[in-house]
């Protein structure tokens, strides 16, 4: 190769070319070498290569290598692609890739290095590594973020593959399914997990794996959320879960896995059941005044809803127990429970169990009855056997209390279900017991009070109706049957100067309060009528008086003022009076609001002339609300029909017709008070009224009074 050609190539080579002789001195240094090492050719030629481009720490190895080659012909670095750090003129280092080729010429060796600066490539490699590392970190982070979000949810979340195996379960799901760790859950066969629980739907029907939403999704069905009740077969812990599933689709649209959210709705479900249970218990307690029977019904309601057996005891006047009711989930074992109760003494230990609750009025809860407690309670061998046979697991005792007085206690026990009663059950039992206490108290007081109230109420009715010139007056009063809630119908007729006043009404409420209210209304009317002529104003006065009372006091009333043959009527929440003539039966007056009930209330007077031969009937809703054996109501239509043919008859005959129609319609006695006033204006020329002045003794016509003295 001609020297100038070699020079031409060297000058234009992309690689730096550095040559040295046997002494390690530079003999060639091309422009690329100038560029990458930052040193001009003139400066480099003739100087040791080691000083120029080899970092100090590698110079000894360089010199040793050169010496060895010249001595032995062995060269470790020769003819190989190497990568090392090189030195620039400014003392900085940079990565280079190079090969060194030895060349012998006339017995002397020269060495030629082809060097490339690989800083950029190394930098790019580093950058790639950094990116990979960052990517890994990011992936890890997103996994952690997923875990942070899903893992911390209190709702259990699981992801299952097509074979129902768990791909993922957050800690809530792991715990919920009764596992100690995710690994344990992952390694358990799916059907084994389900077999630990008795699973049923809301309707009590058993739920199988095939009904589970995630399984239905995999079958290609739509999956509505499913509410299930699980009972762990060992712990007997009950859970209500709402299962919601959605498919996870692969890129091709196939279902790859399913994600399921298991929402624990146990608390809501129990609250729902509790309010339903309380409503039912209230209904039972309100259904009858026979409290012993209602308590038995409540005991039966508690089983098996709340416990396996339920006992109700009352405290008598001496502080001793009176057993009232016991109900057992398994009727065959009822005798066992009864036998066990026979062991319990009448006079209880005031420091434990029922005796403690009777004495203190505090509740007791034993989530799990310790065996030693049972042993301590056993009186003898047989008793112990009984206790074992019943298998008491958990118990609670709550008082039935009115204020500071304890009337009795409700005991709930679980045995065969092995369910542990908890604070929630205790609260429920306390609420039922509180209601039961009120029911007992009410019915105890009722028998005394109802007779007092009955006497009071009836004493408030006028003993005898006054005589109104040119008119006949009769009344009907049928008290509500004994033992029902006392109604509060009343009426009154009296004179104010030349005028006559008549009122009829119905106080809502019961017992003595109703009687007191009746008295208040009557005396307010009588007093106010002395200075108020308008019935509407009288009603307003009574309304204001009732509103002054602290307790809600409402009543219906019809007020009538009779001046000669002109009647002025005002009605407050009461049925309109019926006006009977030969032309038929019509209603009189305008409906006005109930008295004592509403803040803004106005009543209106209606004035009519009572024609000769006409009759006015004012009545309470005891008549129209009366029921027959098919629970149909007597109603206004039947009432009008009954009165259609009485035009022109005497007041007493009209009253008798009314009671007769009612007696023929309704079976048994009246649920509510029934009252009516009949005001008849005889035709002046008519003959003396037949039947007047005589109290009827016909049973069907009982209750008819009249306004004419003998």
């Amino acid at each position: 190769m001609a020297p100038n050609l070699a020079e031409f190539i060297l000058d234009r080579a992309y690689s730096a070319v550095v040559s040295m002789d046997e002494d390690g001195l530079v003999t060639a240094w091309n422009p690329s070498a100038e560029a990458i090492f930052g040193r001009r050719r003139e400066e480099a030629l003739g100087r040791p290569v080691a000083e120029l481009i080899i970092p100090e720490r590698m110079r000894a190895a360089h010199r040793e290598g050169l010496r060895r080659f010249l001595a032995t012909g062995e060269g470790r670095v020769l003819e190989r692609r190497l990568e090392l750090q090189a030195l620039r003129a400014d003392g900085t280092e940079f990565p280079v890739e190079f090969t060194i080729s030895p060349l012998e010429d006339e017995g002397r060796w020269s060495f030629h290095a082809f060097v490339r600066d690989v800083s950029e490539r190394v930098e790019a490699d580093r950058e790639r590594e950094r990116l990979v590392e960052e990517l890994n970190r990011a992936l890890h982070w997103s996994e952690r973020r997923f875990e942070a979000i899903v893992g911390s949810l209190s709702d259990a979340i699981t992801i299952r593959d097509q074979n129902h195996r768990f791909l993922y379960a957050n800690p809530a799901a792991v715990a919920h399914l009764g596992f100690g760790s995710w690994e344990e859950l992952r390694d358990t066969a799916p059907d084994t997990i389900m077999s630990d629980f008795a699973v049923s739907g809301e309707d009590g029907r058993e739920i199988s794996m095939a009904d589970i939403p995630s399984v239905r999704i995999l079958r290609g069905e739509s999956a509505e959320p499913l509410l299930i009740r699980t009972v762990h077969r060992e712990t007997h812990v009950v859970h209500w879960n709402l299962l919601k599933s959605a498919p996870l689709l692969a890129e091709d649209g196939e279902i790859e896995a399913t994600i399921t959210i298991i929402e624990d709705v146990t608390e809501q479900k129990r609250a729902e059941q509790r309010s339903a249970f309380l409503a039912q218990a209230s209904e039972i307690l309100a259904s009858s005044l026979d409290y012993e029977q209602t308590l038995r019904n409540v005991a039966e309601l508690a089983v098996p809803e709340v416990a396996d057996w339920c006992a109700v005891d009352l405290v008598d006047d001496d502080g001793d127990r009176v057993k009232v009711a016991v109900a057992h989930v398994n009727p065959e074992r009822l005798s066992l429970a009864e036998e066990l109760r026979a062991y319990e003494p009448e006079r209880l230990d005031p420091n434990q169990g029922l005796g403690y609750v009777f004495r203190t009025g505090d509740s007791l809860l034993y989530p799990e009855i310790p065996p030693e407690m049972l042993v301590a309670a056993a009186v003898d061998e047989h008793h112990m056997e009984l206790i074992r046979a019943v298998g008491l697991h958990s118990a609670l005792v709550v008082p039935m209390r009115i204020g500071a007085r304890t009337l009795g206690a409700v005991t709930l026990v679980t045995s065969e279900s092995r369910r542990s009663l908890d604070a929630f059950d205790l609260q429920l039992a306390e609420q039922v017991a509180a209601r039961a206490a009120v029911a007992i108290e009410n019915s105890r007081l009722y028998s005394q009070r109802s007779s007092i109230a009955r006497t009071l109420q009836q004493s408030l009715l006028p003993e005898q109706l006054p005589e109104i010139p040119d008119f006949e007056l009769a009344s009907v009063y049928l008290p509500a049957m004994q033992g029902s809630l006392v109604g509060g119908d009343f009426y009154d007729v009296w004179s104010v100067g030349e005028s006559w006043m008549a009122i009829i009404g119905d106080v809502t409420g019961k017992g003595v309060e109703a009687a007191a209210l009746t008295a208040l209304v009557r005396y307010t009317m009588r007093t106010a009528a002395e200075f108020l002529a308008s019935p509407a104003e009288l009603l307003a006065q009574v309304d204001a008086t009732l509103k002054h009372r602290s307790a809600l006091s409402v009543c219906t009333a019809l007020c009538l003022r009779l001046d000669g043959d002109r009647a002025t009527i005002a009605v407050g929440g009461h049925p309109l009076p019926l006006y009977i003539t030969g032309d038929g039966v019509t209603k009189l007056g305008e409906h006005g609001p109930l008295l004592g009930a509403f803040t803004e209330a106005v009543w209106e007077d209606t004035t009519v002339e009572l024609a000769p031969g006409s009759t006015l009937v004012a009545y309470t809703d005891g008549i129209t609300d009366a029921v027959d054996e098919e629970r149909r109501r007597f109603g206004i239509d039947r009432l009008q029909d009954a009165l259609r043919d009485v035009a022109g008859r005497t007041a007493v005959e009209v009253a008798e017709c009314l009671t007769g129609a009612l007696a023929a319609f309704q079976t048994g006695s009246h649920a509510d008070d029934t009252a009516a006033i009949v005001l008849h204006r005889p035709v002046p020329a008519a003959a003396p009224v037949s039947g007047g002045g005589r109290e009827s003794h016909d049973d069907r016509l009982a209750g008819v009074r009249h306004g004419q003295t003998d």
């Binding site: 409503a279 309100a286 809600l552 929440g573 009930a597 509403f598 803004e600 109603g635």
Partner: protein, 111 residues
């Protein structure tokens, strides 16, 4: 044979409040059941809707409960909504006693 009163209270609770839907006759015998249900309402009640659309009969016992609820709602500051009965007998009692205009009644949605 006495046909039992088909009296029913359906309870539905949402975040917004409680709805009690009453079916059947509200009278002396069933009034205490409603009174009991109302007594058991939460103390922090926000709103109560008493749906009377399927009520077939009402006497003063039922009326008294409505008035008491109205007073309680104003005192304890919660909202009471009453849905008017569709049945004429029950609706007539409310009109005759002034309750229909004095209490917060709303029309039942068209059946």
């Amino acid at each position: 044979m006495v046909r039992p009163t088909e009296f029913k209270i359906a309870h539905r609770a949402t975040d917004a409040g409680v709805t009690l839907k009453i079916t059947g006759e509200l009278d002396l015998s069933t009034g205490p059941v409603l009174a009991g249900s109302v007594e058991g309402l939460p103390h922090d009640l926000k709103a109560l809707t008493l749906d009377l659309s399927e009520l077939t009969f009402m006497d003063s016992t039922g009326l008294r409960i409505l008035i008491e609820l109205d007073q309680r709602s104003k005192r304890d500051d919660w909202k009471l909504i009453l849905i008017r009965p569709r049945h004429e007998t029950a609706a007539a009692v409310l009109k005759a006693t002034g309750a229909d205009s004095a209490l917060p009644f709303q029309d039942a949605p068209k059946a």
